[in-house]
Amino acid sequence: MTHSTKSWLLALAGATMLLATPALANETIRIGAPLPLTGPLSPEGLKQQRGYDLWAETVNAAGGVTAGDTTYDVEIVYVDYESQTPRAVQTAERLITADDVNFLFAPFGSGAAKAASSVAERYQIPMVAATASSVEVYDQGYQYLFGTFTPNNTLTDPLARIVADSGEDISTVAIYARNDLFPLAIAKEMEKSAGDNGIEVISFDEYAIGTMDHASAMTLLMRSKPDWIFATGYINDLILIRRQMADLGIEPKALTMLAGPAYKEFIEATGDHSNNVSSAAWWHPAVAYDGEGVFGPTSDFVTAFEAKYDATPDYAEASAAAAGVVLQLAIEDAGTIEPSAVRDALAAMDVMTFYGPVHFGENGQIDSLEPPVFQIQDGATKTIYPEEIKQADMRFGGIE
C-alpha cells in the first residue's frame, strides 16, 4: 500500500466517522435498581425488572425525559443482591457512591425496602418503592422515600365489607396463612377487617414455608365448618391448597386467596377449580384508567407489555412500571434532575396514570389508590370493586 493510498483511506475513515456521529446525543439519567435476580425471591425480582425495562425502553423510544432545556435517556443500573436483605443495603449504597446513580428504585418487598430506605435518606436520593406495602416502611419520618403500594388493610377491608354486606348469611371465616412476612401480615389484617365487619374468625392457622401438603390442615379447618375461607401465600401454595380442597370435597360459601389468583398461572394450573375464587391486588389488567405519562391509558400499557413479553402484566410488574412513570413525571415537573427538587415534585404529585391515581401521603406512601377486588368467573377475571371499574357482582357458592 502506498503512502498516498493510506492517506486517502485515513481521510475516508475519518469522514465516515464524522458522518456516523449523531448530531446531538442525549444525556443520561441513571437509576439504580437493586433486585433479587437470583435466589428464592428471583421470580419476584424478575417481575420487577420486566416492569422497569418496559418503562425505560418506552421512554427512550419516545425520545427520552425532558427536564427544563435538557433531554435525557434513562438507563437502569441493575445489581443482583441474591435475595439477601443485608446485601440489598450494601448494593444501594454502592449504586449511589460508586455508580453515581441519580435516583433509586427500592429492592423487593417491605423488609428490604425499609432496610435500603435509610441509605437513600442519608444521601438524599429519592427512592421509589414498587412492592412495599407495610406501613412500618413509611413510618420512619423519611423525606426521600415514596411507595406505590397502599397499606395492606386497603386490600382486606373492601373484601370483608363485600362479604359481610352480601346478604349471604356468612358469619364465620377460617384464615389459613403462610408463615412469611407479607402473607402473614395480610392475614392478620384480614383478622381485623373481618372483626370490624362482624364476621367471626373461627380459626387462624399458619403453615410453614415449603409445606408440601395441606390435607390435614384442611381436614382440621373444616371441623368448624367456616362459611368463608381466606388463604394467603404465594402462587405455588395456593395452587396446592386449592387442589387439595377439591380433593377433600371442601366447599365453603366463599373462598378468597391472596396473592395467587392475580396471576394467569393460577387459572391455568387449577382449571375449573379457579371459578368463584376471589382475591384483591393493588392493580389488575382489568382496571381502566385514562392515564398521563408514556403509557397513556391502562389498556395501552397492557398491550405494550403483552407485545414485549408475551404475557399479561400482574400488579407487581405494573407497579414497577408505574414507579418509572411517577419518577419521570416528577423530573418533568421539577424541570431538573436535582434530587431535592425531584423529591419535592414527588411529594406534591397528584396525577392519573395507567396504574391509577397517584398522590403520596405525608409519609410517602400512596394514598390515592383503591386496590381492586376481583373474582374469577367462568375462567375470566372480573373486577368487583371499586364501583368505577366494576364488571360484575361477587358470586357466592360454586366453590367445587
Partner: protein
C-alpha cells in the same frame, strides 16, 4: 373418623414421599454419593409429563415410562462421564460435584421453562371418592399405587436379576465384586441411571399432585434426605418406611401441634433418631 382421615392423609402423603426418595436412597447406599441433582431430576420428570400431556395428550401415568427412560439415559451418562471420575473420593467431593451439576440443570430449566408454576389439568380428573365418610383422593392414590408397582419392580430387579446381584455385590464390597469380574464403573452408571429413572418416574406421577417449577427441586431434595435418614440408607424398604413415617408424622403433627409445625416435628424426630439409632429405622450402618 377424624383420626381415620388424618391417618389416610398421612399414608397417601407418605407414599408420595417414599416414591420421591427410593432412587436417592439407592444411589446413596450403593455409590456413597449424596446426589444433590435428585430434586431437579424429579422436576425434570414432571416437566416431561407436563409437556407430553399438553402437546401430545399423553396421560402422566403413561409418560412415567418416557420420563423414566429419558432420565435413565441422562443419569447413566452423567455417572459414566463425570461422577465416576471422583466416585472413590470422600463424600464431600461428590457432593460438591452434584451440587454444581444441580446448579447447571436447575438454572437450565429456569431458562427453558421460567420459574412460573405449572400444573397438569386433566380433561377427566379422577377426583375423589367418599367411602364410609372418608375422602379418598383418587389421583394421589393411583399415583401412589403406580409408585408402589415401580418400587416393587426395582426390588425384584435387585433380588432376581444378574445386574441386581451385581449392584448389591458392589454395595457390599466394591473390591471383592471387582475381583469377581463385576465391571464396577458400568454398574455404578446403571445404578445412578436407575436412581434418575425413579426420580423421573416420581416426577411424572407427581405432576398431577404438586405445582411444577424448577424452584420445587430443593423441597424434593430435602424430603428425600429426611426420608433416607429416617428409614435407613440404601435399602428400598427403608425408603418406604421412612416415607410413610414422615407422612404420618406430618399429618398427626398438624393435628396435635398445629399445621405450621409439621416440618419442625419431622426434624426434631430426625435429630433424636440420629442420636439414639443412627442407622435409621430399617437401615444398617452406612458408609463411614
Amino acid at each position: 373418623m377424624l383420626y381415620a382421615q388424618i391417618l389416610l392423609n398421612g399414608l397417601v402423603l407418605g407414599g408420595l414421599y417414599a416414591c420421591i426418595s427410593v432412587g436417592f436412597s439407592l444411589v446413596w447406599g450403593v455409590l456413597n454419593v449424596i446426589n444433590v441433582l435428585h430434586g431437579s431430576f424429579v422436576v425434570l420428570g414432571s416437566y416431561i409429563a407436563y409437556f407430553a400431556y399438553v402437546h401430545l395428550g399423553i396421560h402422566p401415568f403413561v409418560s412415567v415410562v418416557i420420563a423414566g427412560a429419558l432420565l435413565f439415559a441422562l443419569g447413566y451418562v452423567v455417572q459414566l462421564g463425570l461422577i465416576n471420575r471422583v466416585v472413590g473420593a470422600p463424600v464431600l467431593t461428590t457432593l460438591v460435584l452434584t451440587f454444581g451439576l444441580d446448579l447447571l440443570l436447575n438454572n437450565g430449566m429456569l431458562l427453558a421453562f421460567s420459574a412460573d408454576y405449572r400444573s397438569v389439568q386433566l380433561a377427566n380428573p379422577l377426583g375423589s371418592k367418599v367411602i364410609a365418610g372418608l375422602v379418598f383422593p383418587l389421583d394421589r392414590l393411583v399415583a401412589m399405587l403406580l409408585a408402589g408397582v415401580l418400587t416393587g419392580l426395582l426390588y425384584l430387579l435387585l433380588v432376581r436379576s444378574k445386574i441386581g446381584h451385581a449392584i448389591v455385590a458392589v454395595r457390599m464390597d466394591r473390591e471383592a465384586a471387582a475381583l469377581m469380574g463385576v465391571d464396577v464403573k458400568t454398574i455404578y452408571a446403571i445404578t445412578f441411571g436407575i436412581g434418575a429413572l425413579m426420580a423421573g418416574a416420581a416426577g411424572s406421577l407427581l405432576s398431577l399432585v404438586f405445582p411444577i417449577s424448577p424452584l420445587a427441586s430443593s423441597e424434593y431434595l430435602s424430603i428425600a434426605f429426611i426420608v433416607c435418614v429416617l428409614g435407613g440408607l440404601g435399602s428400598i424398604a427403608g425408603a418406604i418406611v421412612g416415607g410413610l413415617a414422615l407422612g404420618l408424622i406430618q399429618s398427626f403433627g398438624a393435628l396435635f401441634i398445629g399445621p405450621e409445625h409439621g416440618l419442625t416435628i419431622a426434624f426434631v424426630l430426625l435429630i433424636l433418631l440420629l442420636i439414639f439409632k443412627p442407622t435409621g429405622i430399617m437401615g444398617r450402618r452406612g458408609y463411614e
